[in-house]
């Protein structure tokens, strides 16, 4: 009996031109979103690879100049992207793509892609993940709204119950019928997406497992929306009411609540503004912080240390380059200050994300958002490692060059020069691809939220279908 009802639902689906069109339109849009993902990933990787080669050449051929001058010329670092970013761009549009590693500049990644784009991208950004999070749920509502409501509206439900069918059989049949159509569409599209991403970007070691997990979480989310839509269809007295209710649920789950959860995160702890960070950093360097005294005192201390080490009492008697030593000492202090302030800022941002994750209890799309961007290596927190790597690289570069000046620049001072041999002592910057599985494990709250939502939605559909007396029947 269940199979008969499921088959009837299948047939109805294929006979309904509108439904067929909706499914085909969805798959077409999804294919275009994959094309967008592949193009953007390819463009970024091509540019990054060419830029790294070009920048290495520019670094090595910068000519003969003072080693400290070379720290001002510096270089530029770029983060790496995972192939899974084709499927889930996550926070990438709002993360900088270049870190300018020059003396006197902070080493964060700047140049956000979103700044060059139209603000329309703030309303909609077509990507495979957008298709899963926003469009597919809409399709679910369209395919599900009439599943139970229409039979009640037309009197078919009463008829079927009168001829001996029980409610459980009806509900399971409908669930399997509509559910299998949706599951089939999902599996085909998701599998195709994975295939395209692996061919275009080349899956790394943990990408396949991350992709499978991604599919599982998407499935939980889709299941949640499906069961909620089914519950609404079971509660509604007419198809129109079921569609209105389903769309209201879609607006809440896919549009309103994710934005609200993000805003809750943003206002729960005020972001440390770049101006504020810069102001404090300037104050740190000028007036000192923690065990580091003021700039004047630090310079004095370096001088006294050199006097003591070299056993002299006047600047003119120093056998090393004082400026070089001061550059080394100041770079150390700048690095400590930057790391300290960056650490404080990061803690604030982490608190914001944690608040957003707490809000995922009310918004399954937020839980999915956090999980999928983490699994794709495109979450904001995952770029922190690249920032740290860039910081360490820049600091090492300055240290090597300033040491050269300090040790060998006494006689020539600023006129002392380094050449290609010195520049080649500094390796290229080569960050790792963001880790995924370990990072996703930290999103346990999101996983729990998704599981709870799925279970509650399934129970709601079951309860509405099997236990609660139908509103329509009463009427």
């Amino acid at each position: 009996m269940i199979l008969s009802i499921a088959l009837k639902e299948w047939k109805e689906f294929w006979r309904h031109r509108g439904m067929r069109l909706a499914a085909i339109a969805y798959l077409a849009i999804y294919a275009i979103s994959l094309l967008v993902g592949v193009t953007e990933f390819g463009r970024f990787e091509r540019d990054r690879s060419a830029a790294q080669t070009g920048l290495r050449e520019a670094w090595l051929t910068q000519g003969t100049k003072n080693p400290h001058a070379a720290t001002h010329f510096g270089t530029v670092a770029f983060p790496k992207r995972s192939a899974l970013s084709i499927l889930e761009p996550g926070a990438l549009p709002y993360l900088g793509v270049a870190a300018y590693l020059r003396s006197g500049q902070r080493t964060g990644f700047v140049d956000l892609p979103a700044r060059d784009e139209s603000p329309l991208f703030g309303m909609i950004r077509l990507s495979p993940s957008f298709c899963w999070r926003v469009l597919f749920p809409f399709l679910i509502v369209l395919l599900t709204y009439s599943a139970l409501a229409r039979d009640r509206e037309t009197g078919m439900e009463r008829y079927l119950l009168a001829v001996g069918s029980n409610r459980a059989t009806l509900i399971f049949g409908k669930t399997f019928g509509v559910g299998l159509v949706l599951l089939g569409t999902f599996l085909v599209a998701f599998g195709f997406g994975g295939l395209v991403a692996s061919l275009a970007g080349g899956f790394a070691e943990e990408d396949t497992s991350a992709w499978l997990l991604l599919g599982l979480f998407y499935l939980l989310f889709m299941g949640t929306v499906f069961f909620l839509a089914l519950a609404i269809s079971g509660l509604a007295s007419s198809s129109r009411q079921a569609l209105t209710g389903g769309l209201a649920m879609w607006v809440l789950v896919c549009v309103a609540l994710p934005g609200l959860a993000a805003d809750y995160g943003r206002v729960s702890t005020a972001s440390p503004s770049a101006v504020e960070l810069s102001r404090i950093a300037e104050l740190d360097l000028e007036k000192g912080f923690d065990e580091h005294p003021s700039r004047e005192a630090r310079l004095e201390s370096t001088l006294n240390l050199l006097f003591k080490e070299l056993g002299v009492g006047r600047r003119e008697e120093l056998t090393v380059n004082l400026a070089g030593f001061n550059f080394i000492a100041e770079a150390e202090v700048e690095s400590v200050s930057e790391r300290r302030r960056l650490g404080q800022a990061r803690r604030t941002l982490m608190e914001q994300t944690a608040a957003m994750e707490r809000a995922s209890v009310l918004s399954p799309a937020t839980a999915l958002d956090l999980l999928s961007s983490t699994l794709a290596g495109t979450s904001a927190a995952q770029q922190d490692r690249a920032v740290d790597a860039a910081h360490t690289y820049a600091h090492g570069l300055r240290r090597i060059l300033n040491r050269e000046l300090a040790a060998k620049g006494k006689g020539l001072g600023g006129m002392m020069t380094g050449d290609r041999q010195l520049w080649s002592q500094i390796d290229s910057f080569d960050p790792d691809v963001p880790e995924k599985a370990a990072a996703a494990a930290e999103r346990s709250r999101s996983i729990t939220s998704l599981l709870i939502w799925f279970t509650v939605a399934m129970l709601a559909a079951g309860t509405v279908g099997l236990v609660i007396p139908q509103l329509g029947e009463k009427a």
Binding site: Q62, D116, R240, G259, V267, F327, S379
Partner: protein
């Protein structure tokens, strides 16, 4: 009015007010930047004054003896204040408020926004999104009298905008609110006409999903594929390669000063010389990089213009962009600010250069005489033009539906 109608309209109304209240809180958070910029500028000036005019006990040069170096230390940050109606249309306001500073005779973005990319990527919940996404659903599916439904968007806007923290003290604000109300009214009228023409629910849903989701999504996809924004990675590479020969030369000239450290000036050279050489070097760096930056900027502007045009293919994206412009969280305000920041950068450089022939560093009193940046709110024309185009396009959409035959 039926019970269902009452429930639908009340739910929309309450959700809109919640969105407005959320926008208000977001706007208050954003306003902290205004205060932080003022505080940072004050601190820079005070530290500059403390260091200016000192003479080293040992008679050695100090960094602050250089007009250029001290000028750099006290150069003010510039950021446009939070737009009055930002709470109603948050959009990418945080992104559009880049922090600039005078540099090399002009101005450049000095600091990157330090916002949580994760929350930014998830979008916001504001009145503009309620109107764009939810109002059509109410108009298409909620039962209710036509006139009441037609007035729903304007009514919610009139209550929501003040609730979102918009100041009602200036004529500019009132004009913006009036345009916003008109936009929401025209958008509502369009969807009511659709409702009158289409009677099958699933067709209404298909029209909704096409015009509110699919067309805007396709527009962003096509624009991204055909006229993509500039590659900042490529620009970084080109910039570095363009700077290489120029810096090779300027580094030789600046060698006696360790590139940017006049405090370590070597015998036979003076800090005043450093100022001259450094200014010349900065001009050469700027000349090498400016065409590349301009090309990237032109490309970004072209990308945005194309998208603005394509966005008119959907009333939803037309409304969204027009609302952002009306609220001041769109691109036009940012562009005007950037132009004024660059103009100030020139004024700032001229102010410093005028003091260089004195042959000594800046005195504390002179720091007070340096130009101050004062933000001029964007001109009415600059936001009213895109908003007005939005009004016309929404009107045309309404006319087009009015001519359409009644469907299934």
């Amino acid at each position: 009015m039926s019970r269902n109608s009452l429930i639908s309209l009340s739910a929309f109304f309450l959700l809109s007010l919640a969105a407005a209240w959320n926008g208000r809180r977001m706007r208050e958070t954003m306003q902290q930047l205004d205060m932080q910029v003022a505080l940072a500028n004050q601190q820079r000036l005070e530290m500059g004054k403390l260091n200016a005019g000192f003479v080293s006990l040992e008679g050695r040069p100090r960094l602050e003896d250089s007009v250029v170096a001290l000028g750099e230390k006290v150069a003010p940050w510039m950021a446009p204040p939070t737009p009055g109606l930002a709470g109603a249309a948050i959009g990418q306001t945080a992104l559009r408020r880049a922090i600039w500073r005078p540099a090399g005779g002009s101005a450049e973005q000095g600091l990157e926004v330090f916002e949580n990319a994760q929350t930014m990527a998830s979008g916001s919940f504001d009145l503009a999104l309620m109107l764009v996404f939810v109002l059509p659903l109410v108009l298409l599916f909620a039962p209710g009298p036509g006139m009441l439904l037609l007035g729903l968007g304007p009514l919610v806007s009139l209550i929501g905008i003040p609730l979102a923290g918009a100041p009602l003290t200036s004529a500019d604000s009132w004009l913006r609110i009036a345009v916003w109300v008109l936009l929401s009214g025209l958008y509502g009228r369009f969807w009511l006409l659709v409702r009158q023409r289409v009677s099958a629910y699933w067709v209404s849903a298909a029209v909704y999903v096409s015009l509110v989701l699919l067309v805007p999504a396709m527009v962003t996809a096509i624009a991204g594929l055909v006229v993509p924004p500039p590659s900042r990675v490529k620009l970084a590479q080109q910039t570095q390669e363009a700077l290489r020969p120029v810096m090779e030369k300027t580094s030789r000239e600046l060698a006696p000063f360790y590139e940017s450290h006049p405090e370590y000036v070597e015998a036979g050279h003076t800090v005043a010389q450093y100022d001259q050489i450094r200014l010349r070097a900065e001009a050469e760096w700027r000349a090498a990089v400016a065409p590349l930056k301009q090309e990237a900027e032109d490309r970004a502007v072209f990308h945005r213009r194309v998208l603005d045009m394509l966005a008119k293919l959907s009333p939803a994206s037309t409304l969204y962009l027009a609302l952002l412009e009306t609220a001041g969280s769109g691109v036009s305000r940012q562009e005007e600010f950037e132009a004024s920041a660059k103009a100030f950068g020139q004024k700032w450089a001229a102010g410093l250069q005028a003091r260089m022939p004195q042959g000594h560093g800046l005195r504390p009193a002179e720091l007070d005489q340096l130009p101050r940046f004062s933000y001029q709110e964007q001109s009415t024309v600059s936001w009213l033009t895109p908003a007005g185009i939005g009004l016309v396009v929404l009107g045309l959409w309404g006319i087009a539906v009015g001519f359409a035959k009644r469907s299934v």
